[in-house]
């Protein structure tokens, strides 16, 4: 079948960016926006979180973008502080679970059959309980506080990444040059360190960035349930939980704006991870 090419179908010339450049642009853009949120969150001092009883229950206005709550606190300041907290918790949680995943993934791939079986079993064990139930249990065990949330997130998020890394490391271990290296008498640790680890770094990086959104969402969920932090701390989950009591009086802005801000941050991290993955993985570069 012959296809006639209409004039102007060859758009490659008037298309200003190729895929790689647009991917790079998106990465830079999302990173900049996240940085801006971080800086705004850091610049807002505790002063703007004080209660101002004369400014109670105000709908969004130019002076209070997100409105004020029943104590007269500026919701924009609280939301930004909450996002900062979420990003911090997400960072700790994602770093810890990535390290756990790397350790277990490498061990499983290079430690021999028994170790592998044990780690697979451990992964199954951690995946056998719904994440949120594990998080609730760990938050209870640690007696509340930020530490409990971070530990909970670290412990619930490593298994899926560990599985990916294990599979990848297994494949590398079967490669010719690794076998040759083995015959040369290099130790397992040496092989893991010099042959396997460098190949895992891109996966690790992307996995880390994709863990971020999950970690932030779980932080919001657990503080929403009231299990993590004390009520006066500005966390997105706590803000949304408090808003529930005032929704029926028509104060919709208490829930809508903080929620949308959280979605934007999570989505930005997701996009960042995704685009970096496309950039680093040659098999997906043309998508």
């Amino acid at each position: 079948m012959r296809r006639s090419i209409p004039p102007g179908a060859d758009r490659s010339r008037n298309r200003p960016l190729n895929l790689r450049r647009s991917t790079l642009l998106i990465i830079a853009g999302t990173a900049l926006m996240l940085l801006a949120i971080l800086i705004i969150g850091l610049l807002i001092d505790e002063q703007s979180l004080v209660t101002q009883p004369q400014l109670r229950n105000q709908a969004p206005s130019p002076s209070h973008w997100f409105g004020t709550d029943w104590l007269g606190r500026d919701m924009f300041a609280r939301t930004m502080k909450g996002l900062l907290l979420s990003i911090r918790v997400g960072l700790f949680g994602a770093v810890a679970s990535t390290l756990l995943a790397l350790t277990f993934g490498l061990l499983a791939a290079t430690g021999g059959k028994r170790v592998d079986r044990f780690i697979s079993w451990l992964i199954d064990l951690f995946l056998s309980v719904p994440h949120l139930v594990t998080l609730i249990m760990i938050a209870y065990i640690s007696g509340g506080g930020l530490r409990g949330i971070v530990i909970g997130i670290a412990l619930t998020h490593w298994p899926s990444l560990a599985r990916v890394l294990r599979a990848e490391a297994m494949q590398i271990r079967q490669a010719e040059y690794v076998r040759i290296s083995e015959r040369f008498g290099k130790s397992r640790f040496w092989i893991a360190r010099h042959h396997v680890l460098p190949h895992l770094l891109p996966q690790l990086m992307v996995g880390f960035l994709l863990l971020f959104p999950h970690a932030i969402l779980h932080e919001a969920a657990i503080t929403f349930l009231g299990l993590g932090l004390s009520p006066h701390q500005p966390a997105i989950g706590i803000i949304l939980n408090e808003s529930m009591r005032y929704l029926s009086t028509g104060m919709w802005w208490l829930a809508i704006f903080p929620g949308i801000s959280l979605i934007i941050v999570v989505r930005l991290f997701g996009m960042l991870g995704e685009r970096l993955g496309m950039l680093l993985d040659p098999r997906r570069a043309h998508e």
């Binding site: 719904p130 994440h131 829930a255």
Partner: protein
């Protein structure tokens, strides 16, 4: 004759496979109970203090001693675990501190409410998600596809409870179509609650949970269907002049239906997590709400019971998914244990 022996052999294979799965479940529950028991006994929270709560001023140190002795808190942890585990094997999961009733009763009653919620959301999200995935793949790159993928990615980065809040504001507060919470109308005798009342209270929570659960199944269906559509046999079908949804139904659907169904069964873990959040928003008296209450109130027997039951729930989902693959997919049937 030959058919009979083959059937018997197949039954043997399945029986052995099922027995292995059962053994796996037992070891899983055993390990899970040991790990969570260890973690909880490491907790800095004093169970006696948690039990007494606000009455702390009125309870003397001697009485505390008595409570601790009555509960066997003075025994070493191993003894305590064996005690608890042997009680569980006899079907006694202990007594909930919050509800002052046996844990098994609390879980049983609450699970019924949760099961109704999860079943409706699970079915709805499965059907709608599959349909959306097919539509997206059929219109790859055009606006229906863009809209659906945008929705899926956005919903995947949205906390379930926030969707619940938004639905609550719009449909319960502004429009007044649905009640703000609970599973039955307030102030009505249990005997007078009609099925219609229950359904009326179920719609918003189920809608919330379904909206969240649609995303993974729709994206998965879209991806699988696109892979199938780019295969040679579909190209041949196109060359013969087949096109549109008829082509997808005839050549695509069969290939993607089984993975989609199994994915839906393996999503029980996220479903349960979503139910916990949804129930909290709508004050829906299900197992999820009990989980949160147990975590907040330090109700250790209930928490342990829920951990084990939720693991059983997730395991059942995975087991059904595996079994479906084994029974339905002819490639797996021939290939032994894959």
């Amino acid at each position: 004759m030959a058919g009979g022996s083959r059937l018997r052999r197949n039954l043997m294979v399945y029986g052995k496979w099922f027995a292995m799965k059962l053994i796996r479940l037992c070891t899983l529950l055993l390990a899970l109970s040991i790990v969570s028991f260890c973690l909880i006994s490491l907790s800095p929270i004093d169970p006696v203090q948690a039990y007494i709560g606000a009455d702390a001023m009125r309870v003397s140190p001697e009485q505390r001693q008595e409570i601790a002795a009555y509960w066997g808190l003075d025994d070493p942890p191993v003894m305590r675990y064996l005690h608890w585990a042997s009680a569980i094997l006899r079907g006694d999961m202990g007594t909930s501190m919050l509800y002052r009733t046996p844990v098994a009763d609390v879980i049983g009653e609450r699970f019924l409410h949760s099961a109704a919620l999860m079943a409706v959301a699970w079915l709805a999200s499965g059907v709608i998600g599959l349909a959306l995935g097919i539509v997206a793949a059929a219109h790859k790159g055009r606006w229906p596809d863009r809209l659906i993928t945008w929705y899926c990615y956005t919903i995947a980065s949205t906390p379930a409870f926030w969707i619940g809040l938004v639905l609550l504001v719009v449909f319960a507060v502004w429009l007044g179509w649905f009640p703000v919470g609970l599973a039955v109308p307030a102030g009505v005798l249990a005997a007078e609650v009609t099925l219609l009342d229950r359904i009326h209270h179920l719609i918003l929570p189920a809608l919330t949970l379904a909206m969240v659960s649609i995303a993974p199944i729709a994206l998965h269906t879209r991806e699988k269907l696109l892979a199938v559509l780019s295969s040679d046999h579909v190209l041949y079908a196109r060359a013969r002049g087949e096109k549109g949804y008829a082509l997808i139904m005839r050549h695509g659907l069969r290939n993607i239906l089984l993975p989609a169904i199994t994915l839906q069964f393996t999503s029980f873990s996220e479903l349960f997590g979503g139910a916990v959040l949804t129930e909290q928003v709508f004050s829906y008296p299900g197992l999820g709400q009990a989980t949160v209450a147990a975590g907040l109130g330090g109700d250790v027997p209930l928490l342990m019971g829920i951990v084990l039951c939720s693991a059983l729930f997730v395991f059942t989902g995975n087991l059904i998914a595996d079994a479906l693959y084994k029974l339905v997919d002819p490639r797996m049937r021939k290939g032994g244990d894959g």
